[in-house]
Point group: D2
Chain length 344, copies 4
């Protein structure tokens, strides 16, 4: 069985990765590192794992060679050490933003400084199975995905694959996000009295995940507008665009059904009655599903495409494991079978 270690496993993405790998039937977890929590049990930082593992955080400076190395570090760290880490493992899965963009100029434009290892960018495959399934089957270096980019890219997927979108017109992704997106470090904006019951459009433009949507969708004019709302996990993308002339609701039904059929983790949610008529992130907590839905104003051609995900799963650790499954020749759903909870 292939062996894996996680560098930087104390954050929320690292914890989710830990949960998934401990339950993965085809991967053997070896080492998890954290400088800050060195020597502590992982369950002291990820309390859901108490009685599930006696692993302790080890020193990232003392890494044993393994088959797979997951990097779950703050943005900017992976690019500094990539050569060294690549010498320790056949497969690298980097969950940071360091290797998501293929174009060094785009990286510099969105992240504000030159990439430290630009020659590595083209070696990585963007780790969203729904867009790069075939490439991932032969990938050794896999980048993680931005959660907001993923919700947007998957909302766009049926429209783009069926060529229904008027790509010359604007696309506006209105994204509602939970507090876990901000990571495990407290800050004034995440303080409960300030963050509870919030509706805060904190970034009308310029969110860095926009770069991943531009790269993956080819849409130059796409805008991501970010609003924090009161939930812990979850991202909901409500994406506004315009369809090509003549496109009708039945065409969208066909495109979305096709997308859901072709991808094990995509589900079409569009009911006429009941409470669960549209995609909602809350029931996706812990699951790798992306629920998609749509509505079209046939008169104006304005289409609203919706995608809900768990930002830590389909938007991070889940997609990473799914992509690695493909690279390892496994069924892509391996170890990702938790269906989510209702109610929650």
């Amino acid at each position: 069985m292939p062996t894996a270690s996680i560098i930087g496993a104390s954050g929320y993405t690292g914890g989710e990765l830990l949960r998934l790998l401990l339950g993965h039937p085809e991967i053997s977890l070896q080492q998890v590192t954290s400088r800050r929590y060195l020597g502590q049990y992982v369950y002291q930082v990820h309390p859901n794992l108490r009685k599930r593992t006696l692993l302790k955080f080890t020193d990232p400076a003392i890494l044993e060679p393994v088959d797979i190395l997951f990097l779950a570090l703050p943005h900017g760290e992976a690019q500094k050490h990539i050569a060294e880490w690549a010498s320790l493992a056949q497969y690298i899965v980097d969950l940071s933003a360091d290797f998501r963009l293929r174009d060094p100029a785009a990286y510099e434009a969105w992240y504000g400084k030159p990439h430290a290892a630009p020659e590595w960018l083209e070696k990585f495959t963007y780790g969203l199975a729904e867009l790069h399934r075939d490439d991932l089957r032969s990938a050794k270096y896999i980048s993680g995905v931005g959660c907001n980019a993923t919700a947007t890219n998957l909302a766009l997927l049926p429209l783009l694959q069926a060529d229904l979108l008027d790509t010359a017109r604007p696309v506006i992704a209105e994204i509602k996000v939970g507090s876990s997106e901000g990571g495990a470090e407290p800050n004034p904006g995440s303080h409960h009295p300030e963050r509870s019951s919030v509706a805060r459009t904190y970034a009308p433009y310029g969110h860095r995940h926009t770069a991943e949507v531009i790269q993956e969708s080819g849409l130059r004019g796409v805008v991501l507008t970010m609003t924090s709302v009161d939930m812990v996990r979850g991202a909901l993308a409500t994406v506004h665009g315009w369809v090509k002339p003549g496109v009708a609701t039945k065409d969208l039904w066909k495109a979305y059904r096709q997308a859901a059929k072709a991808n094990p983790f995509l589900r079409l949610v569009k009911e006429r009655r009941g409470v669960y008529r549209v995609p909602e992130p809350k029931i996706l907590a812990g699951s790798n599903y992306a629920d998609i839905g749509f509505d079209l104003d046939e008169k104006s051609g304005h289409v609203v495409s919706i995608c809900a995900i768990d930002n830590l799963m389909k938007g991070a650790a889940g997609s990473a494991v799914q992509a690695l499954n493909l690279a390892l020749g496994l069924d892509e759903t391996t170890g990702l079978d938790f269906p989510g909870l209702h109610p929650i």
Copy 2:
């Protein structure tokens, strides 16, 4: 001192109106009616008013003449009885949707059936002081405002008054709303296990408040997209549009500052640092303020205008009292001085 009664005072809007009128120094509250809670103390339905009033709900069939009659009934009721109620009071303030639209055809198109008293529509003044201050000074019949329409109209106000918006391009209002918008009656979608932590785009198109935005803004192509989030009070409109060629950020600063200066309840919120950089509804609970802000992408001309309100105050009872204050010749802020709480 003018006397006032409230017909239909058991809902959330009615309760807010009660709170405001009990504290209003220039209005004397006489009667509040509710068929359902007939004979009960109002504090049994509005528990914040315990020890503030010993009023009981009376029968709406036995109404004494007063100077001002507030109607806080479900949509469709006021239009049935308007002639009768107008005979009892010099001033009518109707908080339902019955008299918001001037055009009977628009009413029928958006509400799905002909108006029962179309000849009354033109007698009413739309009760948003920021748009109709002068007309309200001589109004006898005042309509309430839709909360989502108000958040959108006030987000658009600076852009339209300064003529900065390219009105030929689409305008998309992405509105995040709290659970009190749905009223005091439980339903499957408002059940706490289903409504908690939600991000639910329940109406991509066709929300009835759209009609009020079209009427008040003159924008034919405006779309309201509604998303429920986990808060009780509050509506946040994030409005996307495009400015006219050449419009720059400094022009918007001027327009928004001017709007805030001209209107006592408009506040411009646009800070570079700190937690409170943008308008947020949470701190507005109980207050009549509308906080506005903006961001402009000068390259593309895409403007994001934001307005936050308390849906039960500026979006309903607060605007109604403000409008009536003008009609009575009072300072428009009379009885509306609660500043809101922080934290909350």
Copy 3:
């Protein structure tokens, strides 16, 4: 592989049972019934199960014989039909309150009317593995457990098994509960604007689960005081009692460690530092763990024992499956391996 059906699978407990049985490797799910949702897909009612099953709700009047029958009906229904249903299946697991109490007089005292099938009471084994593991190995008829009773009984377990508690003194269980305890039907108290941010001590005395604590603990003077708080899943019992003279903190450490060692789903949580120092229900959502902890004031002998559970899992469906696993001769953890999420 044994076959199983669920009668009354549309509620929250029924849904959780469905999720568990669909993932159970040693049980084959056959039929799930619901009169109200007859003919609908189960995923329309339990949206987390979309793409996991194409089962539809069937008519409870047309039941096929199976090995195991789960009853997830409102209280009072199972006792009416128990003889009939027992003729259809070798194993009966009833999740309602109908067969939890062994004493018909106790049933009548707490539920307000005589039991309809008192002769069946003694045939049932109370389905809490931590208290009845051996009996369950040979049980055919298993009762579910009350969620609040379970949190209390497991908080008391280490103290009682080690005989540390002064049983002549009062025991007060202060229980904080989430909204899913009230079931899937909306009511005025569960309406989101009323239920959000609540701290409501709705039952100082007399909660029916008290009867189960009296029966299982033998403590006559135990009181359950119930407070609703703003969470969906979860029950936290903070149980106050007094230890016998001379009992010290180290005796409690020993007793709690022993309890956690002897029971796969009990975990002792008692850390000196960090955020996760005490049992909390939130990280248990979807898991079958019960986290326990304690604190002792050695001077006064006042002990506070804490137990956190997911009310729908360890407090309902999870305990039921665990108990059935024992009856079937399986490892009691089979199909109950979800560790819970963090953060959530």
Copy 4:
């Protein structure tokens, strides 16, 4: 009109005090200090006050003499400078814990170090009007109150004033608190992903407010057990005790009614039907009311007394202003007329 200044006005209690004093008709606010936010507008820290004041935070080292000095500093600061500050103002209202306890030994026992100005302790009057109304009328030095102590003391007030409680038996106050109790500084436990949906019994014993309950109630054996729940404002004390032999429910009705009658901010909440049957903190946000209720098990004599408050108002700034009103010879309700919101 008397003048007042606030030292240390940037925290949550200071902000609430600011809101109250800006709206107080008989006090003229002069200066508010904050070292950290020196020179900033107060509305940048307390965003609800935007458009209400153009005050800026000034340097606490440069204080003008005033009639009243409010101290809203972290615990331990006021005692260091009390002599100096007392030379600047006739009235001192200290909202910290520094002058709440009359006994220096009690202070040292609960706060872990000797008091820096023990000779000042007896000069202060404990600022809870319901317990010290007459003394406050002639007080110059007023201490603030602990929020949890206040909820407990007011729950006990009717029982103690009517001499119904068996004071030889234990009294356990189970207190559920919101996140604003922890103050405005973020910490790992207040990080939204960790604090949301929480039920965390973080302090079974030893909360410092216990000392105030012992002092004010005379009960030596009282215990405060603290549980954090998901709300921002609010404290709910569910207090367990035992009544004297023979005390019946009608005696409690009389005692609680009497308490509510004698105190303008106490309200008895005990309804047989409806949603609002018991005291709940949520509707008290921003108001100075304390809602009280009770239940008695006549067989055992076990009484549950409940008190709900807004911790920042009746539990801090509201009680401080109420106490000062008495000292100034004003009606004690002056400037405290906000009734709270419903829904919220």
